[in-house]
């Protein structure tokens, strides 16, 4: 019943709703960290709760922004380059998400 386009539409909205509380938390936290020493910022990122939430924020955002940029590519690129851009978009989003998961793991859960 649901087509791929419908699933993408729903995924875009669902991730948007999911991101709302994260945006409030991140904006609040970064404002509170203004002027802090790099070591204090690092200590904040190293707390397991922060590391997990921050990674989740970046992963959901990567998911959301991949769909958004794909929509823009579909609107403006009609040549054969479209597939290349779509692939690069996937790779960039996966790289951003994977980097965040790795960083959270290395900061808070290794050693």
């Amino acid at each position: 019943m649901t087509t791929r386009a419908t699933r993408t539409f729903i995924a875009q909205r669902a991730s948007a709703v999911l991101l709302l509380p994260f945006v409030i938390w991140v904006v609040w936290s970064l404002a509170a960290l203004a002027g802090a020493e790099p070591s204090q910022m690092r200590a904040w990122l190293t707390e397991p709760v922060t590391a997990v939430l921050f990674a989740a924020f970046i992963v959901i955002s990567a998911f959301h922004m991949r769909i958004g940029l794909a929509e823009i590519i579909e609107d403006y690129v009609h040549s054969g380059a479209k597939g290349v851009f779509m692939t690069l978009n996937w790779l960039a989003a996966i790289a951003v998400g994977a980097a965040a998961i790795y960083a959270a793991y290395a900061l808070a859960f290794s050693s």
């Binding site: 404002a31 960290l33 203004a34 002027g35």
Partner: protein
């Protein structure tokens, strides 16, 4: 766009229309989306640097306090707030409401205003924190 099968007509593009608030909000939603894409790449780099490269992490973090760093941070904060508020507008539209031209124009102005005020307030709060 002239090759065979794909040489179908396209709808008139940007430069042909009179500017409206709704159009500006729509374009800004996409522009801030693209800016945030770049912002999240930087955010991921910063996060990874915290984990594996203390030297670069310190340098990036110190950059946040420089004039250029503050401009980038304000741009990121405003983009995030605008995209979030205008995203709420999109979610409201998805319920089939708020689509009348006058209502949509009013909410466009509202989102532009509220995003600047919110970003400015957050920044003011951050500057107060920094001066603690």
């Amino acid at each position: 766009m002239t090759e065979g099968a794909s040489a179908r007509p396209l709808s008139p593009h940007l430069q042909i229309w009179r500017w409206t608030a709704t159009m500006a909000a729509s374009i800004t939603h996409r522009a801030t989306g693209i800016a945030l894409y770049g912002g999240f790449v930087l955010l991921a780099v910063w996060f990874v640097a915290a984990a594996i490269a203390p030297g670069p992490f310190d340098r990036i973090s110190n950059l946040f306090g420089s004039p250029l760093g503050l401009v980038i941070l304000f741009g990121f904060a405003w983009s995030l707030v605008f995209h979030t508020l205008n995203g709420l507008r999109h979610l409201y539209w998805d319920t089939g409401r708020g689509l009348a031209p006058k209502t949509a124009a009013m909410t466009s102005w509202l989102v532009f205003g509220a995003s600047f005020v919110t970003a400015a307030l957050v920044f003011a709060a951050a500057l107060v924190t920094a001066g603690r």
